[in-house]
């Protein structure tokens, strides 16, 4: 059973500019939660607050609470590195380590965090992670090849395998398919479906069909006026958000009237 995440009044800024404000949402365990909204509404920024990646940007700051597994990840005694090990992330653009082989890419998170394992155990983890990411059959004969030699879709699944290898609890995906073709997108969506029995997944997407296809819950973020921070307009089960949303803005967005 994976952990759930609850945010309380989470706000994030870049310098003086507020990107998102006052977001309180429950992200249930072992479910897929999609965050949708027009470009610039702060959904990626919000996502990056959930594993303390946001603060890496110079001048960036977050306030409020993110409760994961009963603990606030922004509490002073929490170590950002430990948080990120438990809450993994897949980025918009595939970013495998270019100098590492396919196998080394997968094991990098463990090796470089100082986890010692014997060769057989490591190979097992590599195979298991690649299988979970639905990539094993395509790369099992080229584990020694550089990660950058794979196709874009394969690289993204390699990044998913790399995130899985450190055995996180939650996986955050920041528009993981926006740089991919439909066939690769299909494979990643199938993978997400498989993964949710073991992980809690949060996926940011600007593709509403994708949100409808893969998620159990959906949150809709919106910047009401330009210059304003993004806020959570509404969230609930995906079927409810897509069939009978409570708010007019949500309905306008999902019916394609703007965004």
């Amino acid at each position: 059973m994976a952990g759930s995440i609850t945010t309380n009044n989470l706000s994030a800024s870049f310098g003086d500019i507020r990107a998102v404000e006052g977001i309180s949402i429950e992200i249930p365990a072992n479910k897929v939660t999609a965050l949708i909204g027009p470009s610039g509404c702060g959904k990626s920024t919000f996502l990056r607050c959930l594993n303390r990646m946001h603060e890496l940007v110079p001048g960036a700051h977050a306030s409020g609470e993110v409760i994961w597994d009963g603990k606030n990840i922004y509490a002073p005694e929490m170590d950002a590195t430990a948080v990120r090990r438990g809450i993994g992330m897949v980025f918009q653009k595939p970013n495998p380590f270019p100098l590492m082989s396919v196998a080394d890419n997968v094991s990098a998170g463990l090796r470089l965090a100082g986890v010692r394992k014997n060769k057989a155990a490591m190979e097992e983890i590599i195979e298991r992670s690649l299988r979970m990411a639905a990539l094993w059959d395509e790369v099992k004969n080229k584990l020694g090849k550089p990660g950058g030699s794979l196709s874009g879709g394969q690289q993204q699944r390699l990044c998913i395998a790399r995130a899985l290898a450190v055995e996180p609890d939650v996986i955050l995906m920041d528009e993981p398919c926006s740089a991919l073709d439909p066939a690769s997108t299909q494979k990643i969506e199938d993978t997400i479906e498989e993964l949710k029995s073991d992980y809690t997944i949060v996926i940011v997407t600007h593709n509403m069909q994708q949100a409808a296809r893969v998620s159990d819950f959906t949150g809709f973020l919106l910047t009401r006026e330009s210059g304003e921070p993004g806020r959570l307009v509404e969230h609930g089960t995906t079927s409810k958000i897509f069939t009978m949303p409570d708010r007019k803005e949500t309905e306008n967005y999902i019916t394609g009237r703007f965004g």
């Binding site: 590195t81 990120r84 993994g88 980025f91 970013n95 380590f97 100098l99 470089l112 100082g114 950058g148």
Partner: protein
């Protein structure tokens, strides 16, 4: 009407092609002209130096004035020693300073460090020699290999620091984020991901810096001085190829002139072996980032 347009197009096209060819020709010509001095120098040094280059020259001490024969063995070893000392001080300091500038973005301190390093790289090498003379030679009351090495280290510092910084900056942030998001600590991300990815470029910078200091003469005149014996320790004066070449070249003796040419050839070959060798050796291990 249509014919006219076609004719105009054709004329236009021909003119464009002519301009393109001219630009290409100018670029190619400039590239060739830029290589001419290098090739002339190499050819001339080989032509003048090869005659006096033999095993004795590489392994013997200089002959006393008036005697023929002898070599620059001590100066070759001395130069290697000075480069080694300079690398021991300059490389760790320079690379770490570059890492600081690129990875730990502390705006104010970085600005100061960058400015100072740019100024330092513009300081004439003879002034660095005089500075080290005051700081080390006067306090230790002797010319020494150590003082010479430190002077060379000061000279290579800004080059190494700034090239390291530039190379690290070329590593995309996406890789840093990928690593940090896996729960890999910051220092490990810098060492195993960022520096490794930039490795080829940093190495090239280091080689250029070493090649540059290998030929420095002025700062050594005040620090390592020179010597007609084998190196006797870090706290003793030491011979070096550039200083030996200088001494022999301004001497009135014909066979010393010959030896100065041979010394120049050895110096050029040393730099060549250093840079080509390291490129071949590390080139296989570290592929440049795409």
């Amino acid at each position: 009407m249509k014919m006219k347009t076609l004719a105009q197009d054709n004329l236009h096209h021909r003119r464009r092609q002519a301009v393109s060819r001219l630009a290409y020709l100018l670029c190619a010509l400039s590239a060739v002209i830029a290589m001419v001095p290098l090739i002339l120098i190499l050819a001339y040094v080989v032509f003048k130096g090869i005659g006096a280059l033999n095993i004795d020259f590489l392994t013997r001490l200089p002959a006393p004035v008036g005697e023929t024969g002898g070599g620059m063995g001590n100066a070759i070893i001395g130069s290697l020693m000075l480069i080694g000392i300079a690398a021991a001080f300059g490389l760790p300091l320079g690379v770490l300073a570059g890492v600081f500038l690129a990875e730990y973005r502390s705006p104010r301190l970085s600005w100061v460090v960058r400015l100072l390093s740019d100024i330092l790289s513009g300081v004439p090498s003879i002034i660095v020699g005089v500075f080290v003379y005051t700081v080390l030679v006067l306090t230790m009351k002797r010319f020494s290999a150590l003082a010479g090495g430190v002077a060379l280290a000061v000279l290579m510092l800004p080059t190494v620091a700034r090239t390291t910084e530039e190379m690290l900056r070329m590593v995309p942030d996406a890789l840093r984020e990928a690593s940090l998001a896996l729960g890999i600590p910051r220092w490990r991300t810098i060492v195993s991901i960022v520096i490794k990815t930039a490795g080829g470029g940093i190495l090239t910078g280091i080689m250029l810096a070493l090649a540059r200091i290998a030929g420095e003469t002025a700062p050594l005149l005040f620090t390592a001085l020179s010597s007609r014996t084998w190196p006797r320790g870090l706290d003793q004066p030491v011979a070096s190829l550039p200083v030996q070449i200088y001494t022999y070249a301004i001497s009135p003796y014909k066979d010393w002139h010959q030896q100065a040419w041979a010394g120049s050839l050895v110096l050029v070959l040393m730099v060549l072996i250093l840079s080509v060798g390291s490129k071949l050796y590390f080139g296989r291990k570290i592929k440049p980032a795409r």
